[in-house]
């Protein structure tokens, strides 16, 4: 189904379908891909590339389990968990923004998007502070393979969050126009932002907890 043919009327039907049996759900559920197909191609590809990195990490960790565990213990699990909650909340706000957009509540959608984006910025600031503390502490703390992976994973993820913020800004500007064509763009932006959240969930488990 081409996205341009997906109207706001269909969108509200789609929302009802997502909400479950309550309300007047359409007879036959609409199976469709939110946003643009290109975004999904990118998201799935990106996830597989990250999976290769995770495989390398798991293999190397199995070779030196104690060294990796020691590296892991020098990270702040509390900050990692706090950052996870920040990104999860940000994801919720962006999901609600999409819901508001489908109801054509563009002002409300912009408010929710702004809140979601602000939490994303907070995430980046906390991550930068965490790096600063690690780098300040000097090389002895950072030596070893664990920290190579730590900086690689968190660095790549940092770039993804930054790109996500650029995309959310574009979505915000699109919502200001409030033209009928912006729904697919809001959906695609939301999909990307949720992928950033997705990656952090597994990176948090691999680096901070396992």
């Amino acid at each position: 189904m081409s996205n341009s043919s997906f109207t706001y009327e269909q969108a509200s039907q789609f929302t009802e379908h997502l909400q479950g049996p309550s309300g007047s759900a359409p007879d036959k559920p609409i199976a469709r891909v939110p946003g643009q197909a290109a975004m999904w191609f990118f998201v799935v590809g990106d996830l597989w590339i990250f999976t290769c990195y995770f495989a390398c990490y798991a293999y190397d960790r199995a070779q030196e389990p104690m060294a990796f565990l020691q590296g892991q213990l020098s990270l702040s699990q509390d900050l990692g968990a706090f950052n996870t909650v920040l990104l999860l909340t940000s994801s919720l706000l962006v999901a609600l923004c999409l819901k508001a957009t489908r109801k054509q509540q563009h002002t409300q959608a912009r408010q929710l998007l702004l809140m979601g984006g602000t939490l994303g910025v907070c995430f980046l600031l906390i991550k930068a502070a965490e790096w600063y503390v690690k780098i300040e502490a000097g090389l002895p703390v950072m030596s070893g393979q664990f920290f190579i992976y730590y900086f690689m994973f968190t660095g790549l993820h940092f770039m993804h969050v930054s790109l996500g913020l650029v995309i959310l800004t574009l979505v915000y500007l699109e919502l200001k126009k409030a033209t009928a064509g912006n729904l697919a763009m809001v959906e695609a932006g939301a999909v990307y932002w949720h992928m950033v959240d997705l990656l952090w969930i597994i990176i948090f488990a691999l680096l901070y907890l396992m």
Binding site: T51, A58, P65, T84, V85, S91, L92, L96, K103, V191
Partner: protein
């Protein structure tokens, strides 16, 4: 104006999913923190059970984000299967390599 108006926040499935995600984050954070308690003289291999639970929780969390936030539950079958195949692969690859490599 209240940015949450007309969203029935407390009856909203998205909010329920979010609450569950935060709760499981706290649970795995507590589990991961247990490393500090067993560090003394414990072999990292003994952590395999804890590690498996932590990875399993992460997989469940990611499935919920994919299903409800990314709305894949209402997507065509090929995308639902692609996402589930990815999740299963991550679990098998990470735990398999960590355990047997």
């Amino acid at each position: 104006m209240n940015p949450f108006r007309n969203l029935s926040l407390f009856q909203n499935r998205l909010t329920h999913v979010w609450a569950f995600l935060v709760a499981t984050t706290l649970a795995s954070w507590w589990l991961g923190g247990s490393a500090h308690r067993i560090m003394e003289g414990a072999l990292a291999q003994e952590r395999f059970t804890t590690t498996s639970i932590i990875i399993a929780i992460a997989i469940i969390k990611m499935r919920l984000v994919i299903w409800h936030f990314m709305e894949v539950k209402a997507c065509p079958r090929w995308l639902r299967w692609t996402c589930d195949a990815w999740l299963l692969s991550v679990a098998i690859i990470v735990l398999g390599l960590y355990r047997f490599a």
